[in-house]
C-alpha cells in the first residue's frame, strides 16, 4: 500500500472519533442554546450570575448535567477497559459482573417491599445492591484465582439472574415500578451539584489509581506462569483490577442509573484505533466514553424537548455508539487478532454412554412432567391424564412443543457461536439478529393498527434478515473473523436496544405488552406455529455432524485448521448463516430467549461433554429441557399469572450453573 493510500486510510479511520467529538460539541451547543436562549458568552454569564428560575435551571441543572455526563462516561469506559483487560475478552463491560443488575434489583425489591427504606437514599440502596453482587462474584471466583473464564461466567449468571427477577417483578407490578424504568436506562437529570461532586471525586480517584497501576497491570498480558516468574502475582492483580472496576461501576450506577454500552464502546473504539498499552487505553477510553455519553445525553435533552417524552440516556448511547462501531469495523483491515485461550485446564472428555444417558434421562423426565402435571381451575396441583389432559392439550401441547423446539435451536446456535468465536460470552443475542427481529416486530406494531400475528411475524422476519445481511456485509472482508462478528452483532444489537429502550420508557402501552414478548414467551402459541418451529429444529439436527468436524478443528487455531483443508471463510460463513437462521426462526415465533443459547453450551460442557458433536447435541437437549421446564414453571408457579419462559429459565438455571461453576473452580485452582 502506498504511503499516500495509507495516509488517506488513516484519515478516514480517525474521521469516526473526530466526528463523534464534533457531534458532541454541536449537540451541547444546541442544548445550551435551548436552555439559555442564546449562545453568546456574555448572555450566558449574565444568566448564570442571576438568581431567577432560568438561572437556576442553567447553573443547577444544565451545567452539572453536562459535567456528570463527562464524568460518568469516562468512569464507565475506564471500568470497561479494566474489565476487558483483566478478563481478556472484548465483550466485557461494566455490566459483565452484574453490578448494575444487582443495583437495579435492590432498588426494585426495596421499592416494592420496604418502601420506607428509600429514605436513606436511592443512591445508597443502589450502591449496596451493586456491592453485594460484586462480593458474591468475588467469593465464587476466588477459588479459581479469578480466572477470566470463571469470573465471566459467574458474573454473567448473576447479571442475568438479577435481570430476570427484576423484569419478572416489573411485569407483575409494573405500575409501581415505572419510575425505575427511567433509572434503569440511565437518568442524568440533576438538580444541584450534590451528586456530581462526590461522584467526580470518586471517579477521579478510581481512574487515577488505575492509570497509576497501569504499568504493573500490563503483566496480565503474559501467561500466568510468565508473570509469576517475573515476580508478579496474577491473581492479586486481577483482583485489584476487578475491584477498581467494580468501585467505578457501583458508584456511577448508584448515582445515575444503568447506562449501557458506553463501557463497551469506549474501549472498543480505543482498541480499534490502535492503542495498545494499558495506560493509553485507559486514558483514551475515558476520553471517548466521556464524549459518547455527553453526545448521547445532550442529544437526549434536545430530543426530549421536541418529542415531549422523557428519553433515557441509555437509549441514545446505543443509537449513537452502535453505528460508530459499525463504521469502524468496516474500515478495519482484515487481520484478525489472535484469540486468547482463557479456559482452565482441560478435563478429560467424558462423552461416554453414561453421561449421554444421564442427560437424556433428565430431559425426558422434564418433558413428561411438563406434559402431565398441571393445575386445575382451583389452583390445585394435579397429575392430569386422559380427559383432563385432553382439555388442556390444545394450549399446553403447542407451548411445550414450541419451548422445546426454540430451546433446541437456540442452544445449537449458541454452541456453534461459542465454539466458532472461542468466546464463552457469545450467544445468539450477540448476533443482533434477535434485536433486529424485535425492531421489525415493533415497527409493525407501531405502524399498523392491530396487526395480525402473521403480519407481526413477517415484520420480525424482515428485521431479522436485514440484520443478518448487515452482519454478513460487515464481516465478509475479514473472512467472518470471530471478533468482528461479535462486535458487529453487539453494535447492531445495542443500536436496536436503544430504540427499544426509547419506546419502553415512553410508557406507550403497546410497548409494555411487548415487554413480555421481549422476554421470550410461548403465550398464544398454536400448533401451527409450534409445528413450524419443530420442523426446523428437527431438520437442523442431521446437519450437526458435518459442522462438528469443523467445530472440532477451530480450537486448533486458524493456521492449523486451514492447513488441514478447511476453507475458513466458507466454513465460518456457513455456520454463521446456520446459527443466524436458527436464532431468527426461534426469535420470530417465541421471542428472544437468548439465555438458552448462552447457558446451554456451558451446562453441557460442565456435564462433561467436550467434543463438538456431543457438546452440541447435549446442549440442544439441555436447551430443550431448560425451556420446557422454564415455560412450565412460568405458567404454573404463580397460576394464573404467567412469567415468561425466558425469565424463568434464567431464574432456574442460575443456581444450577453457579453450583457447577463452584465445582469447576475448585478443580481449576
Amino acid at each position: 500500500m502506498t504511503s499516500q493510500a495509507m495516509r488517506r486510510h488513516a484519515i478516514q479511520f480517525h474521521a469516526v472519533p473526530v466526528s463523534l467529538c464534533i457531534l458532541a460539541v454541536l449537540l451541547s451547543l444546541l442544548s445550551l442554546d435551548i436552555e439559555a436562549g442564546s449562545l453568546s458568552p456574555a448572555a450566558i454569564f449574565d444568566l448564570a450570575a442571576g438568581s431567577d428560575t432560568r438561572s437556576l435551571l442553567l447553573t443547577q441543572g444544565w451545567i452539572p448535567r453536562f459535567l456528570i455526563a463527562l464524568v460518568a462516561g469516562a468512569g464507565l469506559a475506564v471500568a470497561g477497559a479494566l474489565f476487558q483487560h483483566t478478563l481478556k475478552n472484548p465483550l466485557a463491560s461494566p455490566s459483565t459482573l452484574g453490578l448494575a443488575g444487582g443495583a437495579k434489583l435492590a432498588l426494585t425489591l426495596v421499592t416494592l417491599y420496604v418502601p420506607g427504606a428509600l429514605a436513606i437514599g436511592q443512591e445508597t440502596i443502589a450502591l449496596l445492591g451493586a456491592l453485594v453482587v460484586g462480593f458474591l462474584v468475588f467469593a465464587l471466583a476466588r477459588r479459581s484465582g479469578f480466572s477470566p473464564l470463571i469470573v465471566i461466567l459467574t458474573g454473567m449468571i448473576i447479571a442475568l439472574y438479577c435481570g430476570a427477577v427484576t423484569t419478572a417483578l416489573a411485569i407483575i407490578h409494573h405500575e409501581w415500578l415505572k419510575s425505575l424504568f427511567i433509572w434503569g436506562s440511565g437518568d442524568l437529570t440533576q438538580d444541584g451539584w450534590y451528586i456530581l461532586e462526590p461522584l467526580a471525586a470518586k471517579v477521579c480517584m478510581g481512574a487515577a489509581l488505575a492509570v497509576a497501576l497501569a504499568r504493573p497491570l500490563e503483566m496480565l498480558n503474559l501467561s500466568d506462569h510468565q508473570a509469576t516468574v517475573l515476580g508478579a502475582s496474577p491473581a492479586r492483580m486481577r483482583l485489584l483490577c476487578l475491584l477498581i472496576g467494580c468501585w467505578l461501576t457501583a458508584t456511577i450506577v448508584a448515582a445515575v442509573g444503568i447506562i449501557g454500552f458506553v463501557g463497551l464502546a469506549g474501549p472498543a473504539i480505543t482498541r480499534m484505533l490502535g492503542f495498545r498499552r494499558l495506560r493509553s487505553k485507559l486514558l483514551m477510553s475515558a476520553v471517548f466514553g466521556a464524549v459518547l455519553l455527553c453526545a448521547a445525553d445532550q442529544g437526549v435533552q434536545v430530543l426530549s424537548g421536541y418529542i415531549g417524552t422523557l428519553v433515557p440516556a441509555g437509549a441514545l448511547t446505543g443509537i449513537l455508539g452502535g453505528p460508530l462501531l459499525i463504521i469502524m469495523i468496516r474500515q478495519l483491515r482484515s487481520n484478525s487478532q489472535p484469540s486468547q485461550n482463557t479456559s482452565p485446564a482441560p478435563e478429560p472428555d467424558q462423552s461416554n454412554i453414561r453421561n449421554h444417558l444421564r442427560v437424556l434421562a433428565g430431559v425426558l423426565l422434564v418433558i413428561i412432567g411438563a406434559i402431565l402435571v398441571g393445575r386445575d381451575i382451583h389452583g390445585d396441583w394435579q397429575l392430569q391424564l386422559g380427559n383432563a389432559l385432553n382439555t388442556v392439550w390444545p394450549w399446553r401441547g403447542p407451548r411445550i412443543l414450541g419451548a422445546m423446539a426454540a430451546g433446541t435451536m437456540l442452544a445449537i446456535a449458541g454452541t456453534i457461536l461459542q465454539r466458532m468465536t472461542a468466546n464463552p460470552m457469545a450467544s445468539p443475542e450477540s448476533l443482533g439478529v434477535s434485536a433486529g427481529a424485535v425492531i421489525g416486530m415493533i415497527a409493525i406494531v407501531f405502524l399498523i393498527d392491530a396487526p395480525t400475528a402473521w403480519l407481526q411475524i413477517s415484520g420480525a422476519a424482515i428485521g431479522a434478515f436485514i440484520t443478518l445481511g448487515a452482519i454478513f456485509a460487515l464481516t465478509r472482508k475479514s473472512g467472518y473473523a470471530p471478533e468482528r462478528i461479535l462486535i458487529a452483532g453487539i453494535a447492531i444489537g445495542a443500536l436496536f436496544d436503544g430504540f427499544i429502550a426509547f419506546l419502553m420508557a415512553g410508557g406507550d402501552p403497546r410497548a409494555t405488552r411487548l415487554l413480555a414478548w421481549n422476554s421470550g414467551s410461548t403465550y398464544g402459541l398454536g400448533f401451527d406455529r409450534a409445528s413450524v418451529l419443530a420442523i426446523i429444529a428437527v431438520s437442523a439436527l442431521p446437519i450437526l455432524p458435518a459442522f462438528a468436524r469443523w467445530l472440532n478443528l477451530f480450537p486448533l487455531g486458524p493456521v492449523t485448521t486451514k492447513s488441514l483443508g478447511v476453507d475458513l471463510s466458507i466454513s465460518r460463513g456457513v455456520m454463521l448463516m446456520f446459527a443466524s437462521i436458527l436464532t431468527a426462526a426461534a426469535t420470530l415465533l417465541v421471542g428472544p430467549l437468548s439465555f438458552a443459547g448462552l447457558i446451554s453450551p456451558h451446562l453441557a460442557k460442565l456435564a462433561g461433554l467436550r467434543h463438538a458433536l456431543p457438546h452440541t447435541v447435549g446442549a440442544a437437549l439441555i436447551g430443550a429441557a431448560l425451556m420446557v421446564a422454564a415455560d412450565w414453571l412460568g405458567r404454573m408457579l404463580f397460576f394464573p399469572w404467567e412469567i415468561p419462559a425466558g425469565l424463568m429459565a434464567a431464574i432456574i438455571a442460575g443456581p444450577i450453573m453457579v453450583w457447577l461453576l463452584m465445582r469447576v473452580g475448585r478443580g481449576a485452582s
Partner: protein, 267 residues
C-alpha cells in the same frame, strides 16, 4: 556423492515469487526454486531471512505479491482447501498446544482432508493414524492430553498429524527444534526413509547445517529475502559458501566415520 535429481518429477515450485507485507516491507524477492518428488530439501538461512515466509507461500497461506507458486504446474491458489490439503501438509513453527485433545484424537484430526465434513473414519483412516503413531514412537503416549506433554513430545505429536494426513508433500517449519538429539536423528531418518520409499517431497526449515547436509538431498539457502544458493549439500558445505550464508567463519571437515561433510564454527 551428488545425485542427479533432475529426472524426478517437479512437485512444488516458486517462479520469481515476491512477498511484500501490507506495510511495504519486502520479505522475499525474486525466488525461483523447484522442489521434486522423492527429495528432501532443507531451507537454511539466518533468522529473518524469509524461510518461514517461503514455506507459508508454498503452503498457500501467504499469497505472493508477484510471481507464482505452483503445485504440479497449477497455481496454488486454484486448488480448493481440501484438495490442496490432500497433497500438501504444513507444520507451523508454533502449532499450538493442541486444545484439549489427546494424542490419538489430535492425530485423527489429520485425516480431515480425506473424510471431509460428512465422512466417517474408515479402515484406511484408522490404519493411517496407527502408522503415524508408530512411526513417531508415540505408542506409550496415545491417551495423554497433548497440552500435558513436554515440548519435544508435543512436536512429535504434530509431526504425526502431518504424517496421518498422507500428503505427497510435507512442509515442515523447524520440525526438530525442540527435540533431544536422539529424537532429532530419529525424525530425520524417518523423513529420509519416507522420501526414498514413498517418494514424498519434503521441504524442511532446519537450523543445524550439519543435519541438513547429512540428511537433505538438496539445500536452499536464503539471505535477506533473496535466494543465494540452491544446490546439493556437497556444494554448500564449502567454507566460502557457508561464510556467505551464515556470516560466520566455518571449517568443513569430513566426518571421521561416515565421511559426510561436517561444518565447525571457527570461533
Amino acid at each position: 556423492m551428488a545425485m542427479d535429481l533432475s529426472d524426478r518429477p517437479a512437485v512444488l515450485g516458486m517462479q520469481k515469487a515476491r512477498f511484500e507485507t501490507a506495510r511495504g516491507v519486502t520479505l522475499l524477492d525474486n525466488i525461483s526454486v523447484t522442489f521434486r518428488a522423492g527429495c528432501l530439501t532443507a531451507i537454511v538461512g539466518h533468522n529473518g531471512s524469509g524461510k518461514s515466509t517461503a514455506l507459508k507461500m508454498l503452503a498457500g497461506l501467504n499469497k505472493p505479491t508477484s510471481g507464482a507458486v505452483t503445485l504440479d504446474g497449477n497455481d496454488v491458489g486454484r486448488f480448493s482447501a481440501r484438495e490442496f490439503a490432500k497433497s500438501v501438509a504444513y507444520l507451523a513453527q508454533d502449532p499450538g498446544h493442541g486444545a484439549d485433545y489427546t494424542v490419538e484424537e489430535l492425530i485423527a484430526l489429520g485425516r480431515y482432508p480425506w473424510h471431509g465434513p460428512f465422512g466417517r473414519l474408515r479402515e484406511r483412516d484408522k490404519q493411517s493414524i496407527e502408522r503415524a503413531i508408530l512411526l513417531t514412537g508415540l505408542e506409550a503416549l496415545r491417551k495423554r492430553a497433548v497440552s500435558t506433554l513436554s515440548g519435544g513430545e508435543r512436536q512429535r505429536a504434530w509431526i504425526a498429524v502431518t504424517l496421518a494426513q498422507q500428503a505427497s508433500c510435507l512442509l515442515l517449519d523447524e520440525p526438530i527444534s525442540a527435540l533431544d538429539l536422539s529424537h532429532q536423528y530419529e525424525i530425520l531418518l524417518l523423513l529420509e526413509q519416507l522420501c526414498k520409499q514413498d517418494g514424498l517431497c519434503i521441504v524442511a526449515v532446519l537450523h543445524d547445517i550439519n543435519l541438513a547436509a547429512r540428511f537433505a538431498d538438496h539445500i536452499v539457502a536464503l539471505k535477506g529475502g533473496k535466494l543465494i544458493a540452491d544446490a546439493p549439500p556437497a556444494t554448500i558445505m564449502q567454507s566460502d559458501m557457508l561464510r556467505d550464508i551464515f556470516g560466520m567463519d566455518m571449517l568443513v571437515q569430513p566426518h571421521p566415520t561416515n565421511g559426510h561433510p561436517f561444518a565447525l564454527a571457527n570461533v
